[in-house]
Amino acid sequence: MRLRVKDVEFSYRSVRVLNGVSMELAESEMLGIVGPNGTGKSTLIRCLNRILSPQKGTVLLDVWDIKKIRLIVQDIKKMSLMELARKIGYIPQTTSQVFPATVFDTILMGRRPHVGWRSSEKDTEKVLEMLRLLNIEEFAMRDINELSGGQQQKVFIARALTQEPDILLLDEPTSNLDIRHQLEVMDIIKNIIRKKGISAIVAIHDLNLAARYSDRVLMMNSGKIFAAGNPSSVLTPANIRDVYGVEADVTNNSDNGRPYIVPIRAVREDER
């Protein structure tokens, strides 16, 4: 296991958003989190890298202990932000970059947890490698604010990968993208996970993208985990009706054996 979450509870002031969430993430696993708006997907993700601190419960990470030469389990609360930043990369939905920053410098930020004030030749090489890997070399010296949503998303993925983390957290990476960029971004994430042995947790609205790319799917409803397992066991008509209040057809995609969801209609309140 890369990551274990035990009985996490989180409230914003008096509103309970996460209500006893437990989950695990395996090595090289892509875990999709689905669920209606306001159900705690983003909150859960932010509890995993201490952007938010859960009031109850623990988040445990496998950390390689250099002295003992073995993996030890560590509570993220006991790690420094720098240590944590070397383990977990985070990719937000959109940028809040106000001032100009080149794509190159934006990706270079990913070296912050590894180096001090000066960046070395090695860091430059890492940035160049990421530019190549994500095929965004032509934008390298452009201002990040000039890029389209899809291009920006690739830059953020590159920055997170430059951190050299074990785990990537992605908060709705496809929500602002056209269908071509949605597929491109998801393919990139999937390929990198395979290539680098990284694990990823992806909060995602699109059930078909979740079905197609996730190794496992976590379905959340009002701050709790409603169902977890492989895509075809979680994304069933019954579950979708219970959680989303939507009647849906689920067929099997003959290409990849993954479930394919066609939403039919919203179920009226009195029918639920």
Partner: protein, 360 residues
Amino acid sequence: MTASYETLTGGLTKSDEIKAEYKKFLGRKLLLILFSLVAITLIGAVAATLGAYPITIIEVYSILFRGLFHYPETTAEIVVWNLRLPRIIMAILAGIGLAIAGTMMQGILRNPLASPFTLGISSAAGFGAALAILTGLGIFVGEYLVIANAFFFSLIPTFVILGFTRYKRATPETMILAGIAMSFIFSAAISLLMFFAEPEAVKEAYFWMVGSLGRALWEDIAPVFTILLVCVSLLMWKSWDLNVIGAGDEIAQSLGVNVEQSRKSIMIIASLLTAGIISFTGTIGFIGLVSPHICRMLIGGDNRFLIPASGVVGAALLLAADTLARTVMAPIILPVGILTTTMGGPLFLYLLLRRTKEFW
């Protein structure tokens, strides 16, 4: 396999291209800094020749050189060393400090309108000085009480805002709004003081607030220089964190930066820097706002270069403004604070017109 071979070779040349472009950009950043340094030396030399007592540039340089070995004796030497030089040096130090404080404030608040005075520092300093002047204490105890009082009061808003962040999170919005509130409170307090004061004292207090380099003495240079050196070193050390904070609080934290703590410490240092300068000069506006914007337009937002660049550009701007203020209506010497604000306004509008993107 052929495809991957092609991307590999294609990639390598691409990488070299990017590296070359990056180096070129780096060169541009250094060029701006170098150019501003040259400008400062030139303007400084010209500034030393200007004034009621005529001295040529060559004389200035020889006086400066000779002055290194003995105390000024002739009138020309006294004029250059004791009157003009401290003023020029103060202009350079104040320009660097105000511009860098502005860059830092804009950076941590992620707000292009922030300046050293956004957090209410200037009105608080004005209140401190006015209090010393209007109660007459400044006259009895001496000029240094005015400076000390201005310095002391100018730090109050910062500490009030810091206290505030114990209850509210230290987000840019909270800090800016709290700063505006502090600004109003101290402005009101100044008005109240002035309402009850003698007209002569009001005039003096007003002159203080406008901001001028005319009061600069050699004795003032050392404390200002010390504050500048300490604060700027600390701020440069934080420059990469400032870049990361620019990408958003959550991103910065996910990259290992303790955002709220960094924001608070940068705010304290930038406030100290501002207070250390304006308690000697009075409030000089617009240098802290305009310099970072000019530099961002020219060399982008990387704070590792933006901080020194906007410092030297600020110094060149303030020195040029003061030189103009001394000569434009000669023999009347205008306070430089009036000039920076009257020139700064239109200059800022021009910069806004020229911008092509959301930001520069």
